[in-house]
């Protein structure tokens, strides 16, 4: 009798450990590229500021490099190509992220997760306030960026 009881206890112990391990694993499916929401959004925020208001003499390759882990190659090319016609020097631009949020796929109609960011970009003479909608693929990388007011 005592043996059976001990056997059942040990089985429950093992089952408990497995269940705890599995449940911890389940939550990681909501993480983006192994980062928690807060960590991931902080990275995206920093990258956006780096892209829209780069410091002086930052080559486009540096912008590509910071996006590399978080964006598809195709998207990086489009996103980091500077506007050759622009008269604005990087040191004259200020950028501010006014809002950033992660829209989890499970709560969206098309099940596509997105990062929504509201930016204010200011030069000496003009300013723009706009939204960026960044769609994430199944790997968690941004594959499409749309801008609107």
């Amino acid at each position: 009798m005592r043996k059976r009881l001990l056997f059942v206890i040990s089985l429950l112990f093992v089952a408990g450990i497995i269940a705890a391990y599995r449940s911890a694993q389940d939550y990681t499916k909501y993480m983006i590229l192994g980062k928690t929401e807060e960590e991931y959004l902080n990275i995206i925020k920093a990258n956006l500021l780096f892209t829209y208001a780069p410091k002086k003499d930052v080559p486009p390759q540096d912008i590509e490099r910071v996006w590399e882990p978080y964006m598809t190659e195709k998207c990086i090319k489009r996103f980091s190509t500077p506007n050759e016609a622009s008269q604005v020097k990087p040191e004259d631009v200020n950028a501010e992220i006014q809002y950033i949020g992660l829209a989890y796929g499970k709560f969206q109609k098309d099940n596509i997760p997105r990062v929504i960011a509201k930016l204010r970009v200011e030069t000496k003479t003009r300013f723009w306030v706009f939204h960026l909608e960044m769609k994430l693929n199944s790997e968690g990388k941004i594959y499409e960026v749309q801008a609107y007011y």
Partner: protein, 194 residues
């Protein structure tokens, strides 16, 4: 050889501990962050949350933008009212529609009175300074003077769990896109901002 039950128990526990430690070590990915208990609670809440109100909120946004600056039908207004925080309704939402703003039925007719001695016309009235006359109320004011619908449409609504917030992407008849934020509290719209 007789193995004691206690030995079996100790062995099983020991082995499972070794196994879980080994799994932890071998499966640990350097790029992955450790989940704090706070993170686990947050992700559990995400896992358990079912966004049942989405359809209602989309309907709300649809009415809100469709009748923006227009006359909202009574049944739609009742729906908006039932889904809006009371303070927000009074301070903002009712000013969104033509037929719910203050003094809509109290439009006054202005009279232009010639002021011969000074050589120009002015507006006569019963308030100090002589500006507005309260003589004739416009009881025949017709709704059809205003647009029936704004023409704006809800392109998409994104739900942000962290902030309990809907970000509405709205299209205009001119082909532009703009954004409105709808903050939810206790299942009701508690704030609307751009």
């Amino acid at each position: 050889m007789k193995i004691q039950a206690r030995t079996v128990l100790i062995l099983t526990m020991g082995l499972s501990l070794i196994a879980t430690t080994a799994i932890g070590i071998f499966m640990k990915d350097g790029t992955k962050s450790e989940l704090t208990p706070r993170d686990v609670d947050y992700y559990r809440a995400i896992g358990e949350y079912e966004n049942k109100d989405r359809e209602l909120i989309e309907k709300y946004i649809h009415f809100y933008i469709t009748y923006r600056g227009c006359v909202i039908p009574q049944d739609k207004l009742e729906f908006i009212k039932s889904m809006t925080d009371e303070d927000l309704y009074e301070s903002k939402v009712r000013h969104n529609f033509i037929n719910t703003v203050d003094n809509f039925f109290e439009e006054k007719e202005l009279k232009v009175v010639p002021k011969e001695d000074e050589g120009y016309s002015t507006i006569d009235g019963d308030i100090e300074g002589g500006v507005i006359v309260e003589s004739d109320e416009c009881d025949e004011l017709e709704y059809q003077d205003f647009g029936k619908e704004s023409g704006d449409f809800l392109a998409e609504a994104f739900y942000i769990f962290k902030d309990d917030l809907y970000i509405a992407k709205i299209g205009t008849p001119e082909g532009k896109l703009y954004t409105l934020y709808f903050k939810i509290r206790d299942g009701k719209v508690a704030d609307i901002y751009a």
